[in-house]
Amino acid sequence: MSPYISPLFGVAMSVSVLLIMSSSHWVFMWLGLELGTLAFVPILTWWHSSLEVEATVKYFIVQAMAAAMFFFGGLVSTGTEYISSLNQIVGNTGEVMIMLAVAMKLGLAPFHYWVVDVVQGLNYIPGMVLLTWQKVPGLMVLTQLGTTYNSFFLLTLGVLSPLLGGLGGLGQTQVRKLLAFSSNAHLGWLVSGCVIGSLLGITYFALYVVLSLPVFLFLHLLNAVHLNHLRMSLMFNPASGMLVGIGFLSLGGLPPFLGFFGKWLLLTHLVDGFLLGLAIMLIVGTLVSLFYYLRVSYLCLVILGPQQVMIGLSWRKIYMTNLVSGMVVLNMIGLVLVGGVSCLPK
């Protein structure tokens, strides 16, 4: 495939998000979702390896099924109640179908198995795009749906996601599967945020992107497919190994790092809305997933091979340094920054 085509797909993916953001009619949303999927499919098979093709087919089938369900749900609600604007559909069968379709597209809890399989087949960079940018269209639909009174359904899925994401990752030794489960756990928080207030969901999403980008990029750099590869990272690239470890702990939401801020923010609003049970369930799920974050960071930071490290910290030799290390530094001091900004005189 000619590399000059890739901007076309990028533009198409952006347009799909713009289309969804700026419309309230379900047909245009469906159009946006389909456009995003179709533009992403060629990127998934960029290197033509058999694993990638398999992953792409899985991705395409699930997305196509979800899109058909979305379309059908839209037809049902328009046909029965003559409503085509998504934020006015209130509690009929069509809305439930649309919600299920979006949940399937995002990979929310009962439908999260495809994400794990697809991410396992991909390289880190397409995987990163799949787990970050490709969530945007679905979330945009959710922010419109979440304002309706039927949000209990979404909250249930949102609670289920961290629990299943946490439990699923416990026995994993494949780094990419682990990242997929971790993204699933974060998705639960995100969806709960979207339901409470769309701005919260978007803030949490931005935080998740900031936290996970450096992890993906450093893992790509280390070419770590299995957890054992990470154990060696401290030997030949100590800086990257350490930064991956810190990135994982930040994803886990431990307080000195930025990851805690998202949890803090959402918990504040959950308790404010008297959703205590939800808050506790989310936290329990996060605790479970913290177990595997901790395991990964043991491998990156703590476990020593028989030899000592012979090379110094080569900060300057990491390529992509400036942006990515900058993001990790943001992980480390981000909480202080947020605290400082919030204390500024209004």
Partner: protein, 452 residues
């Protein structure tokens, strides 16, 4: 007092960037220099003082802040020996971890806002985890680290929800205010109270949630043990004092359960200590027993209880830290902590066994040690709560005396084992280390006013 915390941040950076030969010197001299701003704290008693942005210190936080600042150079002093063989970058990270940990502790003790306290409280987890799992001796250290993290986190996440809930209802998390009477007396307050103190009870630890502590102590390197026994456990006592001072009698309704567990813990831990064969785990279990009395003192909710718990915490911080140092000093020479393998040390190291002697006596609260003072005052408060508690407390005191004697007798008396041939002598660094623990412990006998 922001400059104190900034000083620790600067010291972390200094340790990371300084040249090779200066890492330990920068750490030690810097941490001693940081005691200077702390001397300002000591002048202020019984009042809320040194108020600056988001930080304050009063009589509750004073002693513990000074204790954590005091222990940092001692930790560095104690861990020099086993770090010399490590590569430079690991030495930097090791010293940096300890300095960061102390900075977080100072921030926790001096925060004027409960949420800032919570964040600092949680920030101490990561450097401690690094100390335990990275520099521990055996491979069981991973299990110990995971236990440590998960016990603490499971306890402390309800605390976060409770704090946020309080902020939503009352609109403030300031430590120095009294919120008594803001909540109406209802059964919900009980849940709130339990959620608030659960984190601290796990951290102290209370009997029943103490399983992480002996594991962590046995696996941790000497610096980790010192800071765990010296200050980190006290974080729990401090937090409990703060929360209960804020809410007063309103929230103390369901404390009976924990008081009972604490009393039971004193006795059981005494019994468990008597059948330990490992020096470090004996000292660790004795910490649990002593901290049970702190729980008792605080949860009675009377002034005597608080004062006793405060004195006991500081006394125990110095004594148990020194006992760990002494155990480690033997461990570095003989590579064993087994009690049956370490007999008759008085024949090998006569002068250091004076340290063992004094510290064992202080551990069993012999007069005129400050431990005795703390224990007596806390016991009076507990007796006032329920006269029957005297049974458990006296039994506990007897068992404490018994295992302290057992510790001293097993390690110092008897025949020296024949297989120790080339033990190198105690260095002046180690004498200094022991002395710097002993001096404040003895000095505080004459100046109890410093602590309450």
């Amino acid at each position: 007092m922001n400059h104190l915390v900034l000083g620790y941040v600067g010291l972390v950076i200094g340790v990371i960037v300084t040249k090779k030969s200066m890492v330990w010197r920068v750490g030690q001299v810097g941490s001693v220099l940081l005691m200077l701003p702390a001397t300002v704290l000591v002048n202020m008693n019984m009042t809320i003082s040194n108020v600056s942005y988001m930080m304050t210190s009063d009589f509750v936080s004073l002693g513990l802040t000074v204790l954590s600042i005091w222990l940092l150079p001692l930790m560095l002093l104690a861990s020099q020996q086993h770090m010399v063989s490590e590569s430079l970058i690991y030495q930097r990270v090791f010293v940096g971890c300890q300095v960061f940990l102390t900075g977080a502790l100072v921030l926790a003790f001096m925060a004027s806002d409960l949420l800032l306290f919570y964040i600092a409280f949680e920030s101490t987890l990561l450097p401690t985890l690094m100390l335990i799992t990275r520099w521990g001796a055996q491979k069981e250290r991973y299990q110990a680290g995971t236990y440590f993290m998960f016990f603490t986190l499971v306890g402390s996440l309800p605390l976060l929800i409770c704090l946020i809930g309080q902020y939503q209802m009352v609109g403030s998390l300031a430590l120095d205010l009294s919120y008594e009477g803001v909540f109406q007396l209802s059964y919900l307050v009980n849940f709130w109270w339990v959620g608030c103190i659960l984190a601290f009870l796990v951290k102290l630890p209370l009997y029943g949630v103490h399983l992480w502590l002996p594991k962590a102590h046995v696996e941790a390197p000497i610096a980790g043990s010192m800071v765990l026994a010296g200050v980190l456990l006290k974080l729990g006592g401090y937090g409990m004092m703060r929360v209960s001072l804020m809410w007063g009698a309103t929230a103390m309704l369901s404390s009976e359960v924990f008081l009972a567990l604490a009393l039971w813990g004193i006795v059981v831990m005494g019994g468990i200590c008597l059948r330990q064969t490992d020096l470090k785990s004996l000292i660790a279990y004795s910490s649990v027993g002593h901290m049970a009395l702190v729980v008792g003192g605080v949860l009675t909710g009377v002034a005597w209880g608080y004062n006793g718990a405060m004195v006991l915490m500081i006394a125990h911080g110095l004594v148990s830290s020194c006992l760990f140092c002494l155990a480690n000093l033997w461990y570095e020479r003989s590579s064993t902590r087994n009690l049956s393998g370490s007999r008759g040390l008085i024949m090998i190291f006569p002068l250091i066994s004076l340290g063992w002697f004094l510290m064992s006596l202080m551990n069993m609260a012999l007069p005129p040690a400050i431990n005795l003072f703390g224990e007596l005052v806390a016991m009076v408060a507990l007796y006032n709560w329920s006269p029957y508690s005297i049974v458990y407390m006296s039994l506990g005191a007897v068992l404490t005396a018994a295992y302290s004697l057992y510790l001293f007798g097993m390690s110092q008396w008897g025949n020296t084992m024949k297989n120790y041939k080339n033990l190198y002598t105690i260095t002046s660094r180690e004498y200094l280390l022991t002395t710097l623990h002993l001096v404040p412990a003895i000095y505080l006998i004459f100046y109890l006013g410093l602590m309450f």
